[in-house]
Amino acid sequence: MSAAVEVPEKLVGKPIKRREDPRLITGAGNFLDDVRLPGMAHMAVLRSPYGHANIRGIDTSRAKAMPGVVGVFTGEDLKDVNPLPCAWQAGKVQNNVNTPRVLALGKVTHVGDPVAVVVADSRYQAEDALAAIEVDYEELPAVVDAELATRDGAPQLHENAPHNVVMQWSCGKEAAEVDAALAAADVRVSERIRNQRLIANAMEPRGSVGRYDAGTGEYTLWATSQAPHVHRLLTAAFVLGVPEQKIRVIAPDVGGGFGSKIFLYFDMPLVLWLSKATGRPVKFFEDRSENYLHTAQGRDHITDVEIGATKDGKITALKVKTYANLGGYLSTVAPGIPTTLYGRMVAGCYKIPNIHVDVTGVYTNTAMVDAYRGAGRPEAAYLVERVCDLVADATGVDPADVRRRNFIQPGDFPYDTGIGMLPYDSGNYEPALDRALEMVGYQDLLKEQAKRRADGSGKLIGIGLSSYVEVCGIAPSKWIGLPGEGWGAGLWESANVRVHLTGKVVVTTGSLPHGQGHETTFAQLVADELGVPYDDVQIEHSDTLGTPFGFGTYGSRSLTVGGTAIYKSVAKVREKAKQLAAHLLEASPDDIVFEGGKAYVKGSPDAVKTIQDLALAAHVGYDLPEGMEPTLEATTFYDPPNCTFPFGTHVCVVEVDRETGQLEVVRYVAVDDVGNVVNPLIVDGQLHGGIAQGLAQALYEGAVYNEIGELVTGTLNEYAIPKASMVPVYELDRTVTPSPVNPMGAKGAGEAGTIAATPAVANAVIDAVSHLGVKNIDMPLTPERVWRAMHNA
């Protein structure tokens, strides 16, 4: 039957090009460093050159006399300001929480720790004056390796944390039970798996601009922020002690985040405090070198894993002991990453009956470690996907079959892994694996690999599989908020949908973009659900003034949680519009049909009230049903009943030179299941970028500290983020298993590529040389490391 009234074409599912782009391709974006205020002064930061030192004294007198200098400030000036909070004290971290002060007081714990600041008329003058500050340091022994830091006699960073331990956390079955399962296993394998430290490297470094208005007593903070409401809350209530309503936080266009802009940093409260102290707006915009030294980093695990399996490749037991390096202090949500988001995800997409995980979080003389794209889940996926290949190697079962034999089956959902994660919402893992193997031509590749190994022809071929599952849209609040384990607050999201008198629609959301295209995706959703033209929908975000409290964007939560809040608000608006239409059409609300933005009485499609008619009637308000409030808008605070669990299989094919260990990625196939897709252009873009970052961990990237705590990979020259010539073509396909958790059936796509790619690439490289007896190589898999492994095996 054809629709009774003309319904506009649906936009959800279409590759609409982004409405954000015109400003960004013409140089008209407004990023943090583009914020210019009358009278604005500039802040430059003096940072510790030592990994570990006591500060005996600071002489700022010469600097204060330098040209253009407005003021010079040290930790002593800010000693009444609270340290930054650690919001997610997982693992019952309580008596040993050590968070950074706004400026160091008495000691420093890593190279780059902020010690003093200069505020001057220009950035150049501020930098000049830094050189005139004299700091008397007493250098102390440093430790940068998490395992070594826990040993007797290691340098101690904080008095309240013996052996530098932040927390001892565990999940799964009792260790003894898993030991028994290991002892009973046909096949046993153990390995040390390292997940090296990474630097997020958003192309826009971090920064903040603070303005104090002495007339109103109000503060405005512009910040490179993934979570403006949270930053307002933490800055106001936890650090400065300013009433929350007196601070407004604005995130302008944000040039990438990848997690690194979730956290509260010293400069956010500091520029506000300085603005009040100096009477000038104050800007701070870090250089890349500063970003490397102090903006939070990711990963850095050392893991010992013991595996038990049957002869036919079924994994029966997994015992995991991980040292998680958390840096010199605890960043905002640091303890939650190696616990809830890593430990509880180590089962991956497999039924493993006996799992025990121990995680030791450790302070070291390095930059803080917190969430970086994937946050815990890449570490978990890397571990369990290496485990699958180790089992394949030990049993002689094909790596694809090991995965297949251990997969959680479609009928098992919702599936509880038994290690404290919420039940996986939905999944069907084998079709994604099958499709990926088909696309890459797996059987032919195996034959070619065997041929080249046998006759010594050509380069060695390696095929790497990664079947991953990850957890997105972390919720509900009653689970993730539990103090002692969760982060003591909710993770719901807000949305207000307002149809103005003119019929134009304004949506406010507590989630916000830093490249993900919220303005486009959300407008597609609203246009469809409300039946209004796409161009009539405005998405407002990123400003605490005018948006209800929201938690921000990370953990692939914007569509699944924020989008659902919008979806539900639209449904409420539609319901009110129906009530009003019934009144105006003199019918019962039950008899009103609302489709494509038009309401009519069932069977009488000729007399319609459009959503625009209804918005006008709702606003002028002189003919409303008894008891109905004027206007047409609704707000939703959506707290999902569960997380969502996207999954898929990636396959990487590499060629390795037998003589040099030089390697090349020759194929990269990714079959992802992110549930239903609103904008395939944007989702594919997220996957591409995610794959590039995951692949780069496997092959190129690694933050390296020397033993006295200096970051030797301190610039883009030493830390190899990939260039265009260093990544392959990505061949993508999808399976679609809708999530039952939200009405759109979406699962989240922001981190999937990164989580899947690292093990796919690493497994491929190790597979290429596995016939030589190589079981494992630490990342990044440089030609030198591959060559050494080939010759040492």
Binding site: G255, H514, R667, P722, K723, A724
Partner: protein, 183 residues
């Protein structure tokens, strides 16, 4: 006894930026990127690193693409400079801008101005680049969001528009080549 040398506190520079002539007195150490951003208010040119690696600051100086964080304003004295703000003409996007929009060649958009400036220079040198030539031609520009695939498509699109084979057609042909190599 030490000799006393006085360096000039300010130096006069004159340059034409996006068709408009400017003259100013600047510190000799002032970087071109800061002159463009802070003196002229052309904030489309971005700063992403301090070691000349990222390419977010690329502009054209006398027809050559340069990293404006590595050039002093005084070195551009008398030069013709084009920044991202000068690329679209009469509200009409240039082919590279169109390619980036059509092919989703950007996400956060921070690297995009430099990437577009470098891609334009690449296409001036080589109006019909292979995928390999695009990837190597953009090695001086880093992007952390896209994984570069859609940037390759964007530049392929632009090349098609410039050389007359058509943007969408050129991208489709490239995709077919890739699929052919894969199978």
């Amino acid at each position: 006894m030490a000799n006393t040398v006085t360096a000039p506190a300010k130096v006069a520079v004159q340059m034409t930026v996006n068709g408009t002539e400017y003259s100013a007195e600047v510190e000799p150490r002032l970087l071109l990127v800061h002159f463009l951003r802070d003196n002229l208010g052309l904030t489309g040119t971005h700063v992403g690193c301090d070691t000349s690696q990222c390419g977010a600051c690329v502009v054209d100086v006398n027809g050559a693409s340069v990293k404006s964080c590595t050039v002093l304003a005084v070195q551009a004295d008398g030069a013709e400079v084009t920044t991202i703000e000068g690329v679209a003409k009469d509200g009409e996007y240039d082919p590279v801008q169109r390619g980036f929009w059509e092919m989703h060649g950007l996400q956060c958009g921070y690297c995009t101005p430099g990437m577009i400036m470098s891609a334009r220079a690449l296409l001036r040198r080589n109006p019909n680049p292979s995928e390999d030539e695009i990837r190597h031609g953009l090695e001086g520009n880093l992007c952390r969001c896209t994984g570069y695939q859609n940037i390759v498509r964007a530049v392929t699109y632009a090349a098609g528009e410039i050389n007359g084979t058509g943007g969408a057609e050129s991208v489709a042909a490239w995709e077919q080549r890739v699929a052919g190599q894969a199978s």
